[in-house]
Amino acid sequence: MNRTVRPLAAILALLASSACSMPEAPARTALVFGVADYEGTGHDLTYTDDDANSVTTMLTANGWSVTKGLDGNADAGDIANAITGLAGIEGIVLFYFSGHGGLVNGESAIVPYGTIGNESGWITASELTAMFKAAGLENVVIILDSCYSGGFVEDGATVDAIPDVFGDNDSGGITYTWFVDATGDAIRGYMGYEGDSGYVVISAAGAGESSYESDVYGHGIFTYALLQGANSREADLNVDGYATTSELYAYCAAFIDRYWNSVSSDDYMPHLSGTAREYALWAVD
């Protein structure tokens, strides 16, 4: 090995070794909310409380410190206070919600307990982001299994090939099938980029569509896919020993497209934020 190549090889080896080492797990704190038993009986859901219970079990098993709120313990105040209470916390914060979602003046929102008939009590995408920002939290992952939850997903500097309403039955297929197709929109996205929250959001459905529960799975379909990916370790798509937010999204999207969209006219697709970063959520044994 000649004199010129030797230092270059050493630099590349150093870079490769630094790329392979994994830091010790940071503090990981999760807030998990599920609302099935809304006020009255006309708007109850079946499995959203089970979703929250199962997600809590899964996260706890994977090293997360979890605070859970179900039904009456998942009202707007509970959610807001839980987020405020995280001020100053280190590490990663994960927020999970399974329940109704809606639109407030065209903006996507989640429906806490006690607000089913009162839109002013719903928590919009901008309000939820503001809560986390007010708490000074930077490393935030938000996972939502609710209708219209795609409105919480910021494209950032990217353009999303999955439309707000997806599916053959809605004339909303994948917008780009080849890089060249996306170029014009991607350039406009670059020119028009004004910043984003930096939070990673994975939504069960698009900003204009519903997400669904399944009697077969005993869960929301998106949450079932998330649990399957986590518990089977199959969400670690590149088999590097860690499941990331991007891998979890890809697993859930493929699962829904294969096992639900192929047999149901109520087709829909999850969405993922366009932020430049992704988080490792847990180590895969």
């Binding site: 990217t158 353009v159 996205g189 970063r277």
Partner: protein, 178 residues
Amino acid sequence: MNITVLTLASLLYIAFSGLTVTPSLTASAGAGVTDQRGFDSAVGAAGSFDLEFRLGDDGGALVRYGLSHQAATAYTDDWYRYRGFTGLTMGAGYYHGFGPIEAYALGGGQVAKYENSYSYFWFPFLELGGSVPVAVLGDRIGVKAGVAIPVYFRADAVTAGAKATVSFTFLPSSRSRK
């Protein structure tokens, strides 16, 4: 903007410019450091395959089309990393020979897609590099080795890298070894 039209137009210019055209295929491998404001930097591997046309003898315009990959970076202490992506590049620039060294400056754009997603994005880039001839294969293929320093000006992050390059240049008959 119709990128297909732009690509075809550049190829037509190359073909009918009347200048000496030297095509080459280049493979590169290296690493890039990505930084996003307010977050830690991290390093990831990078590589590309490019088709390049150099116009003129010992100096002139160059046009490049390529396939590029930036691997996901290493993890930071907060267990985040910058996402890997693959993209198509197109650029133009200028090259000039300084004795055995051929240096160039290149600018262009890349349309890319993040791994494990349906998210596409575009960014402009600049690249400086240079190479030296190291071998001739047969009479018509020149082999060059070099380095390249690309900088990606992404909307929400900056990636700067260093790559080692190997180029296989198809030498015009007037320059092939007798």
